[in-house]
Point group: C2
Chain length 511, copies 2
């Protein structure tokens, strides 16, 4: 057996059965092994940032890693933006990168690059398998490393390690469960909650599952503490029966005002809120300078166990989540953020997934969508725009029929629009609502913050009009049916029709 075959067998044994791929010449033996060994679903992306973003979306919904198949250092480089987002989402990915044969590398052929150097900033684990016999065992360690962190484990596969005989299939390695909560941290948090006033419990990461939310709700009800979610969440359970959580606001002044009253912040797999960016004369920290920060559970710990221990420590009684009121109806008239949110709430099916890269338009979407049926919501986590279409695509692969609604800003969509083609090829149930404002609206807002109105040169760098992008043509060109809407009722009609289809549909909503 060659190294490539040992890789495929080892990945399958370790439970990795989906491969997001954009292969090149140096990966042909891996492609051949995937072809010859049944069991791996292979999904092609036409640019690497689509591939890595799909792997991120897949993990967020499947809860287990997929592998990637990328081509040499530059192929990896093309996918780093969404690996950055996956790193911030703490998504597990087994990131397989082909490379020059070990003996060919010193000749510095055109595609030779610092593959490990590109990988390290985004990876929790990076290794080059220099012999066929190492590939299987290294792959088993890669799966273990990716799942345990969770994070990105990059396995670099020189082509001779792939084609040489001597491959060995490795058994799956044990993956340690998330760390148990620290009893002292639980007692400390309970003390703060009992004694403190103005306490915020901030939930992030795996503290945003429905089970963890309900425990946090009991804590809040028993103690009067406030609850918030972080601003950028990998996945948050939302809708009826879940807690009507709001997020820490994005805009610095708004966030600072929202957090001003808190004297204590208890972090549950979350980070103390800081600015996405710095601004002259504004603090980096968005919480009050003299607020005390308490950590209930760290990122790698079990948030649900921590919250359950806290509930027990406090003796917090069962507490029902309040009814969020009637389900909204499809809105009418000119598109507004609130109206679009109500329309999504009216139509998202139970068990649906919302992939949100709406950027500036979508900051208030939560408020109007609490009364929707239960669904999952996934965000851009690392700020590297161009994640929405790939995330939606990977989530749809993992969702096995769950409908995905991708709320997608136009400027961001352009970074990874190739993902639409994969949606068409795989006939995925993705409805893209393309928010077409024809500008980098967030940047125009930021420009005003500099204290000036943008002139012609600045607008040349902030305006996506001239010419306007025609998203119906672009989507059609990649095999995705599409239509334009200028009112919310048109958008609602198209969205409702799209939900009964098997494959993808794109609505260009002119906002």
């Amino acid at each position: 057996m060659n190294g490539a075959a040992s890789l495929v067998h080892t990945l399958l044994k370790s439970g990795v059965d989906t491969c997001f791929a954009n292969p090149g010449t140096s990966e042909m033996h891996f492609v051949a092994a995937l072809d010859q060994i049944p069991g791996m679903r292979c999904v092609l992306g036409l640019q690497e940032n689509v591939v890595t973003g799909m792997a991120d979306g897949y993990y967020r919904i499947a809860g287990k890693p997929a592998c990637t198949l990328l081509h040499c250092g530059p192929g990896l480089a093309n996918g780093l933006g969404n690996l950055h987002n996956a790193r911030r989402a703490r998504s597990a990915i087994v990131n397989v990168v082909g490379d020059q044969a070990t003996y060919h590398r010193p000749f510095d052929a055109q595609l030779t690059a610092d593959t490990e150097g590109f990988a390290r900033p985004v990876s929790v684990w990076t290794r080059t398998s220099t012999e066929a016999a190492h590939v299987g065992p290294d792959a088993a360690v890669a799966v273990q490393a990716a799942r345990e962190a969770p994070g990105i484990a990059t396995l670099i596969l020189p082509s001779d390690s792939s084609w040489n005989e001597g491959g060995v299939v490795a058994e799956p390695l044990p993956v340690a469960a998330r760390g148990a909560p620290d009893p002292a941290a639980v007692k400390g948090a309970a003390r703060v909650l009992r004694e403190g006033r103005n306490v915020l419990v901030l939930l992030g990461g795996v503290a945003l599952t429905d089970a963890a939310q309900l425990l946090a709700w009991r804590v809040a009800q028993a103690t009067g503490a406030a609850l918030l979610a972080e601003m950028s969440n990998a996945k948050i359970a939302r809708g009826r029966g879940r807690v009507a959580l709001e997020r820490v606001p994005y805009v610095a002044d708004v966030a600072i005002a929202a957090l001003a009253r808190f004297e204590h912040i208890i972090l549950v797999n979350a980070k103390a809120p800081v600015g996405f960016f710095a601004y002259p004369g504004k603090p980096s920290r968005h919480y009050p300078e003299n607020a005390a920060i308490h950590v209930l559970t760290r990122f790698e710990q079990d948030a649900e166990a921590g919250l359950r221990a806290l509930v027990e420590e406090l003796g917090a009684p069962e507490a029902a989540v309040p009814d969020p009121g009637p389900r909204p109806e499809v809105a009418r008239g000119a598109p507004t953020p609130e109206g679009l949110a109500r329309t999504v709430a009216a139509l998202v099916p139970e068990g649906g997934i919302v992939a949100d890269e709406s950027v500036s338009f979508g900051r208030g979407f939560y408020k109007e969508t609490h009364a929707a049926p239960p669904h999952d919501w996934i965000h851009l986590t690392g700020g590297a725009i161009g994640d929405g279409i790939p995330l939606a695509t990977g989530a749809a692969i993992a969702g096995k029929g769950r409908r995905v609604i991708n709320l997608q800003a136009d400027g961001s969509a352009m970074y990874s629009l190739q993902g639409l083609w994969t949606q068409a090829r795989e006939k995925l149930p993705v409805t893209t609502v393309l928010l077409s404002n024809r500008k980098y609206q967030i940047l125009i807002g930021e420009y005003h913050g500099v204290g000036a109105n943008p002139g012609r040169t600045a607008m040349d760098m902030l305006d996506l009009g001239n010419p306007d992008l025609n998203w119906v043509s672009i989507a059609n060109g990649m095999g995705v049916e599409a239509a334009r809407a200028t009112t919310l009722e048109q958008c609602g009609d198209l969205m409702a029709q799209s939900l009964s289809r098997d494959g993808p549909f794109l609505i260009e909503l002119v906002i």
Copy 2:
């Protein structure tokens, strides 16, 4: 003056007057400075790999660096693929990357990443300006470093260095001329040429200007040596009046056969030919094991001076380049590589630029295009596909009206298709011939090399059909007029029409 203003003034003083941009929030003060200080042409790309590829194409035609404007580590990461190609082309680029404010960086906000770590593998020089007063002087060094190598100089600009007062405009720094040839190397090469049999003079980089070619021709005529160009050339002067150079072949067996007879290889700013990739049982070196390698001039030396010294050392007389025969006519019938090459030769205007990312289809284009009017030809240099559209765009910006014909493989086009929008916005004279074979043809060829026919899973990763990309729709969606051709005469008609237009046009040639 703030740091951002000092940067713009310093760049302009150093002769950098074109900025390829994809800014973000942390670059708003730089955008404002570009807006307020006249003199910098700013060109927006809707994804960073378009931006960096444009900067590469610009340098190849303008012969001087542009600057970029990229957003934080992930924005830089998105542009690394074409920075890799630019590194292999030895293009000078002043690569300006915004970043978190120095004091905000420790808070590890979402977009914080290892910006320097991403930059170093592609850069000859990397520096973070940590104070406003350093920005101007650092920018002057960046221009010097980029021009002198030539290569990529990455200047990282934390947002507080940009917005703080205390900026200082720096004077341009001297740039050393290319190194003079080594007299011993010239004498050594002359001795080999006089005594040796089966000598190849291999030209690369700046040995491919028309002046250098004519000197190399005199050497070859006087000594009987063979001449070849490297396989991947940053820019090569071609057409009538230039030497009818062929390239070292791409395919290993073909290259090995073509080079088998040579006992001596004299490198003029070139590398001894090695395989693009390794293959089982085939050598990495494509020249004979016992061939002697001689270096006339290294990459950083003056090739033309080296060849002139060699001409003088040999006393090689003036020698006219043979007439390449009549200019071909537009071909007819089903598209073939030879027919398309003849069609290009029939229509490319004098002084035109051919941007060639034709990959497998275009390996024989040179043979049929020698009798075209004088033109420049630029190649994918680093093998990181997705360079053609951005290169063509940047070349058109630098060309100030020179027509660019982009011979563009479809699979590769998908990596950076966003560049079409920039062509439309800037109304650039680019004719794209989109070679639509709806597969990764090069990879299917490589797969057969593995010794098997691709099965369904393999074809799922090698085939771009299902659904077919509709390039007319895609181009229209980005504001570029387009039409489909299925015969060479249709292609020729459309190409001829496109040449009289002001703006871009895309021909989807179904091959």
